[in-house]
């Protein structure tokens, strides 16, 4: 059985990766998960300098989902390069660094800094709903997305994944814009902007008022968007949004994703990534699928 998948020339041993922001740089989860068994670790977003993030509460559970407004708290690229990359280099897995910024200049600064580092791919976060400047501002207008993609691509030494926001009218149009800007790969979906109100206290559940909804509640939206994007562009796609089981992951793959990421699922069970991979293998045996790539976009 061959579970390898290739994204923009980078071959992963299997299609399972972690979703940015849910897994740190893997250290905390390495007590539960053998990182060598993951196709890739996608790190939490890193900026040019440390970011404090948002006030608490940053988390609220919803029916079949959760909202967060962590606000991209991160140690900045210097600490990240010194501490997190060497940690991940100890494992036989691909390293995908999620990059965030307030301005085009900040994104490019991080990308340039990473050009001399041994990381496999860059994922550009133009879809975080929880920061005031940057983030999603670049991911909701096709012209802005195309322009930042081009700026990042000009400096990047590694293949570039643009992470798309679902908070748009036409996801296919956004995918085409990223493709036009020179993106090598797309990942989707980031969280859906939401709000929860505590009726007893008459306050917002999150200090930031709004947050990003994730978890099984958003999965059908995510599968639909992956399918639409797969129809619209030729780029490989990393699918995510509420994956808890191998069947969830297979939905994304059949819809057109070459790889999948587990996010909120890590919180539900720290072992979810590996359980999903085992389930995919069982599916391949059951349906006599020799190559995982045969399943990509294979929905009839």
């Amino acid at each position: 059985m061959n579970t390898e998948v290739t994204l923009a020339g980078v071959t992963l041993k299997n299609p399972i990766m972690t979703a940015s922001g849910t897994f740190g740089s893997g250290e905390e989860y390495s007590e539960f998960v053998d990182l060598n068994k993951l196709g890739a670790v996608v790190t939490k977003g890193v900026a040019n300098v440390p970011w404090q993030g948002n006030p608490t509460p940053r988390i609220a559970e919803t029916y079949g989902g959760m909202m967060n407004s962590v606000g991209l708290q991160n140690p900045g690229i210097d600490v990240f390069c010194k501490r997190d990359i060497p940690f991940l280099k100890k494992y036989d897995t691909k390293i995908i660094v999620n990059v965030c910024g307030h301005t085009e200049k900040e994104y490019v600064e991080v990308v340039e800094r990473l050009s001399s580092e041994e990381v496999d791919m860059l994922e550009i976060n133009v879809s975080c709903p929880n920061v005031k400047e940057g983030g999603i501002a670049f991911g909701q207008k096709p012209e802005a997305l195309e322009s930042i993609t081009r700026a990042v691509k000009k400096k990047a030494k590694q293949p570039v994944i643009m992470k798309l926001s679902p908070n748009v009218t036409d996801i296919a149009e956004m995918a085409k814009a990223a493709e036009a800007g020179g993106a090598d790969c797309l990942s989707l979906i980031n969280t859906i902007t939401g709000m929860k109100i505590d009726v007893h206290r008459r306050t917002f559940a999150l200090a930031n008022k709004t947050g990003g909804l994730s978890g099984p509640a958003i999965k059908p939206v995510a599968v639909r968007m992956v399918y639409q994007v797969a129809q619209a562009v030729k780029l490989p796609i990393i699918g995510m949004g509420g994956i808890l089981t191998s069947e969830d992951a297979l939905e994304f793959i059949l819809a057109g994703a070459s790889a999948v990421a587990i996010g909120t699922g890590n919180f539900v069970n720290p072992h979810t990534t590996l359980d999903v991979m085992e389930g995919i293998k069982a599916y391949m045996i059951n349906y006599k699928v020799d190559k995982l790539t045969d399943l990509i976009g294979a929905v009839n």
Partner: protein
């Protein structure tokens, strides 16, 4: 061995106050690892509730491979737990976080409401002289279990039990003295304890809580403002689930 996630059998479960329950879980070696002030993440069996609930460890019983949790119903998740019975199975991850540092100094254990349970394991482990100060809104629970470990002073808001007022009122009126404070309870209480402890020059440890997701330090949801730059992000945000939940009072802004 550190943290594990296990399917725990419910050994015994009983209601000990109108909305407070005592739950004994068979967790194997997790019981040996646990230290006072640590917590576990308890997962719901109803899969519409995704996130584990952080609950402090009331007692660790390593010889039996059990831990005891005493929790209050505060929402749908804890409501679900209250329906567990002997023989039920519940997923538990732990022990999590950093507990209290046990000091060989006369101790004052100060707890309020559902912050009282973790003090029981602490009282068991502290071999020094200790005073125990417990604050309740109205209904009393766990009080009698503390009496073998030291003098217990009670405060209640309505004055029905012990001294009318809060834990600081109780400390002053009962003449409670000591060199080290260990506290757990609601934030307003912890603020008062921090101010009191530091003004008296006592070593003061407090246990904080916050909404959590991963429980192990990865998601950065449950941070608190800290005096010093933290070791993870290099800002001033310590992770309650990882560096905490117990902090020296002067370390954190509350």
């Amino acid at each position: 061995m550190g943290k594990t996630r296990v399917a725990a059998d419910v050994v015994f479960h009983e209601q000990i106050a109108s909305d407070v329950y005592s739950l004994y879980l068979r967790v194997g070696d997790m019981a040996k690892e646990a230290v006072p002030g640590q917590f576990v993440a308890v997962y719901c069996n109803d899969k519409s509730r995704l996130l584990p609930r952080p609950i402090s460890i009331c007692e660790a019983l390593p010889l039996k491979g059990q831990i005891r949790l005493v929790y209050r119903i505060v929402g749908d998740g804890t409501e679900e737990f209250s329906k567990l019975h002997a023989g039920s199975v519940v997923e538990v991850m732990g022990p999590l976080g950093n507990g209290y540092e046990l000091l060989d100094k006369k101790a004052i254990l100060i707890a309020g409401g559902i912050g009282i349970p973790p003090m029981l394991e602490l009282a068991k482990r502290l071999s020094c002289e200790k005073e125990i100060v417990l604050g309740y809104r109205d209904e009393i629970f766990l009080r009698d279990e503390f009496s073998t470990f030291g003098r217990v002073t009670i405060a209640s808001e309505d004055g029905k039990h012990g001294i009318k007022g809060n834990v600081i009122d109780a400390i002053k009126s009962a003449g409670v003295t000591g060199e080290a404070i260990y506290a757990c309870g609601p934030t307003p209480m912890l603020k008062a304890v921090k101010a009191y402890g530091l003004s008296q020059g006592m070593i003061t440890q407090i246990s904080l809580e916050e909404k959590m997701a991963c429980g192990i330090g990865a998601c950065l949801a449950c941070v608190c403002n800290s005096r010093d730059v933290d070791g993870h992000t290099h800002v001033k945000n310590k992770r309650i689930c990882k560096e905490g939940p117990v902090f020296y009072a002067e370390e954190v802004e509350i």
